[in-house]
Subunit: 492 residues, 2 copies
């Protein structure tokens, strides 16, 4: 089938691109920086949405929808937020096209249809949402507001990469408003935990929970929490962020409430988001040179059944058993595909489903029927086993659970191997260059040191882990005292 | 609770706006023409999405995602489509803001960041999707492509109205590609039927299936099928459209395929969509002067339980029964709310849930406990009935089915009463002015007559019904011969 995937050792970056394209997940569109998410890639996103949406609702959130456009004056109200996104915004300036008199059949922007105020295509929705919350919040009785939005956003990135960094991407953004600081911080932490649980449980990717340094904070936030994952090339990937916004947006938009004592107070806020970037993380964490390795909890197809046959009669006999197994599994809630195409050889199909990362493959041929067995292959380890036909349906749920666990354990072990504690700057640089991964090092807490290290090594502080031990040491760069180690890495 | 909804007889249009706002469905944003869909309104949209998405998947479609932006040159490739939307497009011309030197803390569009080619914010996605299909389709083996997208679109409408007509709205758009004309037409008709089934079964709104006259066709389509619904004020509302695109987009984007005989052929296409406009239709078809009337299949809350109590002890006793009923109903898959707030009177709560259109209300007080009964009220007819506590959970499913059926039947009866057959232009005008509704009249089939009638009466041809009987007559306007009656109405 001409898979032609570059191997990871040869060129990890090309391997990723090959895989995204060959597995039919996404492709670049003719619109600069924007991707087309193809049906197979989108079906993974749908699974992610279902999992996350349920977790959001279970924690009391509801969905709503706010406008795509943000008027410039509203956009600039929270200055740090505006400054942070100003350089990468798509701007709508006109609302009409007209026939181009100079080119028959062509259109031109109608200069008479210039907007009085330009509209920013949302790069994030704090501004539009807090300008709305101002109308919704008067009293403590209106709080908390626990709202999430599934939407597209646009950030005019100069260097793009499918799923990881695109001009338009899909995401969810939670925006909550609270009466007290403590409640807002608790919400920020709760949603970080929701993200961590989702990424570890559904995506089978272990994460470090932590806080960003001041330099890496979300523009407009008082504190940014994040989860950081490790990819197979030893680079870090920020998988989700949860921001404690303090009263910054309440200040910018004048969002106040009357408390129980009848006094006016400013509202506290949070925002938190994950995006289609998670699909990139999923691919880079688990897949191999033969294609995707998908954790069963996010796999669009759990089990594929491939019949082995030489003629129609054999196919017909095999189909009876295949359909019976498929029916039993579907009754248990699994997505099963029976690929009975007669124009393709089994070997071709095997390769195709390996490429697509289907967790379990069942092959059945005439000899299997005689022996009352099937061949079961798991995608993660490539192991094959022979099972009795009448036991296979009952065995699959446990097998899928095993695969889910194994994928997670493998990633966890890898992360352990790729996490290094260093105490000198020479070690720091050597590990980054020769091994990669997470580097745990003391840092003096200053933006200057952080910037110098980034400049010299391209490594950034991924986070200050929430579970970091108090430990006296000296900064690897400045030699100044430090109270705990932070996580450095080169990152996506 | 200060509902203050204008009555329908007083001002139907204001009644609608009051209802949308008071029932917390949506509101106008500070962005011209764009609405905020509030959580309660969005939860109805989520129910609609679930119902439709399942029907799309059951008919073999898959979801994908295509870019928000369409480069101008791509947009104008299919000339009729481009011409149809050119006058109402939001245009992105720049990709960066910068600090405004004249106004401290303010931003301005960076003139150095002008795009080489302007981007149109999609008003519909045929152009971007067919430019992509060109890459995906080479052989008959690549066909059919059966893809749907859930997305936001922007049409710069001058006069907007919550849900019914807004600059940005949410919708789904199906875009399919086929090897033969017959298959594409069958798909167009299939999706019309899917829409009709959804609107009748879920929304409880009867529809007429038909085809648009040439003048009302989707720009770029060869044929537009539609479903037309009737609102309580006798105006028509187009609830969904399904377009047979012929080979127009294949022509514009050069989308060809090699057929089984190895010859190159042009691809046939369809597109079809419904939007958040359906929420407007839902409201206007069923609701009354006290608030929403929601069909159970789309109601975010099926049953609300309101406790009647004077003190905590009574609440506590009532709660035991209430929670037990709620648990039984939830087990059956129903969304149940037990409103045990102790700061509000039952009467206030009754009015609130009437406003929100919750189909069934159960009230339980101490006297009910003595009698082992509850009071059950249905929202559609306002009937109240007393039921035995231990029978109520079992009775609710049938009651909800009855409500769904009753709402549909009521709308069907109303439509019947509001459908008038006329044979003269005087009758035609009289019915439109004095009664409204659907007017079945002969039409000579010309665009001139259609335009003249629209100009003189504001009535448009809603559709040429698929089930129209062959019937010789003369056009009410021109007196020229006609072979069948068409449906005229004033419309949203």
């Amino acid at each position: 089938m001409g898979k032609e995937i570059t191997s990871r050792t040869q060129d990890y970056s090309q391997w990723y691109i090959d895989l995204v394209k060959k597995a039919d997940l996404a492709e670049n569109s003719d619109v600069r920086g924007c991707m087309v998410i193809k049906p197979y890639g989108y079906s993974i996103w749908e699974k992610m949405q279902q999992g996350l949406d349920k977790m959001f609702k279970d924690t009391g959130h509801v969905n709503a929808y706010f406008p795509l456009f943000v008027p410039k004056s509203m956009f600039e109200a929270e200055e740090k937020n505006a400054e942070g996104f100003a350089k990468e915004c798509a701007i709508v300036t006109h609302y009409r096209l007209k026939s181009d008199p100079a080119h028959k059949g062509k259109l031109m922007v109608d200069p008479d249809a210039k907007l009085e105020e330009e509209l920013v295509v949302r790069p994030t929705s704090e501004a539009i949402i807090w300008s709305t919350y101002k109308k919704w919040i008067q009293s403590y009785r209106d709080l908390p507001l626990l709202i999430n939005q599934w939407a597209n956003v646009v950030r005019w990135e100069m260097r793009t990469r499918l799923f990881l960094r695109t001009a338009e991407f899909l995401w969810q953004e939670g925006h909550t408003a609270h009466a007290t600081q403590a409640e807002a911080i608790a919400e920020t932490e709760q949603m970080l935990n929701v993200y961590a649980e989702f990424v570890e449980t559904f995506m089978a990717v272990p994460v470090i929970k932590g806080r960003k340094s001041e330099g890496e904070r979300f523009p407009g936030a008082v504190d940014t929490y994040c989860i950081e994952a490790m990819m197979q090339d030893g680079k870090a990937l920020q998988a989700g962020t949860s921001h404690f916004l303090g009263q910054n947006f309440a200040d910018a938009f004048g969002v106040n409430f009357t408390n129980k004592e009848g006094k006016l107070e400013k509202v506290w806020g949070t925002s938190w988001g994950v995006s289609t970037r998670l699909i990139g993380a999923l691919i880079m964490a688990h897949s191999d040179d033969d294609g995707l390795v998908l954790p069963p909890k996010l796999a669009p197809i759990h089990v594929v059944i491939v019949p082995i046959f030489k003629n129609e009669e054999e196919l017909s006999k095999v189909s009876v058993e295949a359909n019976s197994i498929a029916a039993s599994l579907r009754k248990l809630g699994y997505a099963v595909k029976f690929d009975n195409r007669d124009t393709l050889k089994p070997g071709f199909k095997f390769a195709e489903y390996e490429l697509k990362g289907v967790p379990v493959r069942i092959a059945i041929g005439p000899r299997d029927l005689e022996n009352k067995t099937v061949e079961v292959a798991r995608r993660d380890t490539k192991e094959k086993m022979v099972m009795k036909i009448d036991e296979v349906a009952a065995a699959i749920p446990k097998l899928l659970d095993d695969i889910q666990t194994n994928i997670y354990q493998k990633a966890l072990t890898f992360r352990g191997q790729m996490t290094t504690t260093v105490d000198t700057y020479d070690q720091f640089k050597k590990v980054l260059d020769e091994k990669g991964g997470f580097v745990l090092a003391h840092w003096d807490g200053t933006a200057e040191t952080e910037a110098a290290i980034k400049e010299e090594t391209k490594a950034t502080i991924r986070c200050i882990p929430l579970d970091a031990k108090e430990e006296n040491g000296v900064c690897v760069y400045s030699g100044k005292p430090s109270g705990r180690r932070v996580v450095f890495a080169r990152a996506y």
